[in-house]
């Protein structure tokens, strides 16, 4: 396959008068994983929302599999193959765990061009057995880790080629985080390209092929992960 799966090109974005992203650029090939690192307020969530179509960019472009996404509404971007696991998980409170999954599954029953579904609720339950047990419960009556699993499972049922994971481990215990990364590893094994935010720099470097470090909306550091030392990343993180 030629060309990167995702290319972000000089992306600008504002929150009212405040510039949240300034000339952000990076590339990612299919099957790889990119860690986005940065302190709170660095622009990580804005970046994800801009790629997912929830936040209109003021300048620059996002190109997915060779096609620019410019201005497409969020629900169409999903169909192109980008799914978002949002910051705060944002589980639907009026729906049960199973229904949260079904909502995504319902929308992606038909895969164009004769492709069969890669993900099903059954596969998600196999990936996250905790969810099977809680299937009938209201979606928000889960622990933080389980909600994260549900959010990931929900995104998987959108049949993504690219999965955007905002804040994988925030507020979760090390055991749960380890399980989540194991699951993410299996998801990557299925060929899903991954962009994720990770506050734990070491883990972020260990799990990714590339890293992008954001500080006040600009890219301070970017490159292949093992090549960058922990110290360099720490310096870029804190500015």
């Amino acid at each position: 396959m030629s060309g990167p799966l995702l290319r972000v090109d000089a992306l600008d974005a504002f929150h009212g008068q405040l510039q949240a992203l300034r000339g952000v650029s990076f590339e990612l090939a299919a099957g790889e994983a990119l860690a986005v690192i940065g302190a709170n307020g660095a622009g990580k969530t804005t970046l994800f929302r801009a790629i997912a179509g929830l936040h209109r960019a003021a300048g620059g472009a996002v190109v997915f599999d060779g096609e620019p996404l410019g201005g497409l509404p969020a629900h169409r971007i999903v169909r192109r193959g980008i799914a978002l696991v949002p910051e705060g998980r944002r589980i639907f409170p009026s729906l049960s765990v199973d229904e949260n999954l079904r909502v995504a599954e319902d929308r992606h029953r038909r895969r164009g061009r004769g492709q069969s579904r890669r993900w099903s609720r059954e596969r998600v339950y196999q990936l996250f057995p905790d969810l099977r047990e809680a299937a009938g419960r209201p979606g928000t009556r889960l622990s933080g880790g389980q909600q994260q699993m549900l959010a990931i499972g929900r995104a998987l049922l959108c049949e993504p080629r690219l999965l955007l994971c905002d804040e994988v481990s925030l507020g979760l215990s090390p055991v749960v985080v380890r399980d989540l990364y194991r699951a993410l590893g299996r998801i990557r094994g299925e060929g899903v390209t991954l962009v994720f935010v990770e506050q734990d720099v070491a883990r972020g470097l260990a799990f990714s092929d590339h890293v992008v470090c954001l500080h006040r909306g600009t890219v301070r550091l970017a490159g292949r992960s093992p090549a960058r030392s922990l110290e360099e990343v720490r310096r870029a993180y804190f500015g």
């Binding site: 974005a13 960019a57 003021a58």
Partner: protein
Amino acid sequence: MIARIAILGGAALALLSLPLWADAGARSTLIILCYHAAIAQMWNLLAGYAGLVTFGQQLYIGLGAYTLAIASERLGLGIWPSFALAAAVCGLLALPIGALTFRLRGGYFAVGSWVVAEIFRLLFGNWAYVGFASGMFIRAARRVDPWVIYYASVGLAGGACALVVALLRSRAGLALMAVRDGEEAAAGLGVDVWRVKLFAFAVAAAGTGLAAALTAVQTPFIQPNAAFSIQWVAAASFMAVVGGLGTVEGPLIGAAIYVLVQQQLGGSGAVNLIVLGTTSVAVMLIAPRGIAGLVHERLGWTLFPVARRPSDRAQQLRTKSIPP
């Protein structure tokens, strides 16, 4: 600055010298214009500055009008005490009513206010003292010299504008606009949101009551269905929105348009209301800041500078999250 003084000064001169150059017809039209402007200004005070959209303003129209009728007809009070009483009754009653309806938010507050107005309409319709639903005549108040009424109307309209300007330039006004722009943020800054809203609510009620008393003097007869009719607030919202919500000159512009259109269309009330409704919808969707807002946007000019909004041009360049 010069332009403002010229416009305001010229208008004041023209209005005050009316007996010298205009006839009874013009006077009558201007009286109608003035009390409509006052009513619109009060609705705008709530919706445009306090963030309180209400479809219950007709309650104070009815109360103000009936207070005037009762005071002048049944209690034998003079015209000025009757006016004062109308304002006082409305302002005082607004306190418990506001306290109760503030439990509702947004659109529910708007309709809840309408329900309260309905209750009063029904109660007045069942009250023997005011002639039930058939209503009562207004005779004593109408014996006042029409020129006195004219100057009272001009004073009312001018006073309403001055009141809004003074209020907004005061600390209370700052608090009010903070509340409009974001209640939680305002509360976080130490603004007593509830009291500020209630204060604005009572002031608007009193102003509306006073304007209503003036409308009552213009009619020979008062009836609950007309006095408490939803059409008052339909007109008020039209005037404020089309003229320009959140500006002081907006209601004036809106009132002028409204009165003009009413006079042109004359005849069928139904056609009038269809035009009103269609225009309100169109303006709200296409030019939500109304006429005064458009002038402010294009020319950067306002007649009464009280708006404390960030520059609109700057806003156009920035982007926000996409609404659903």
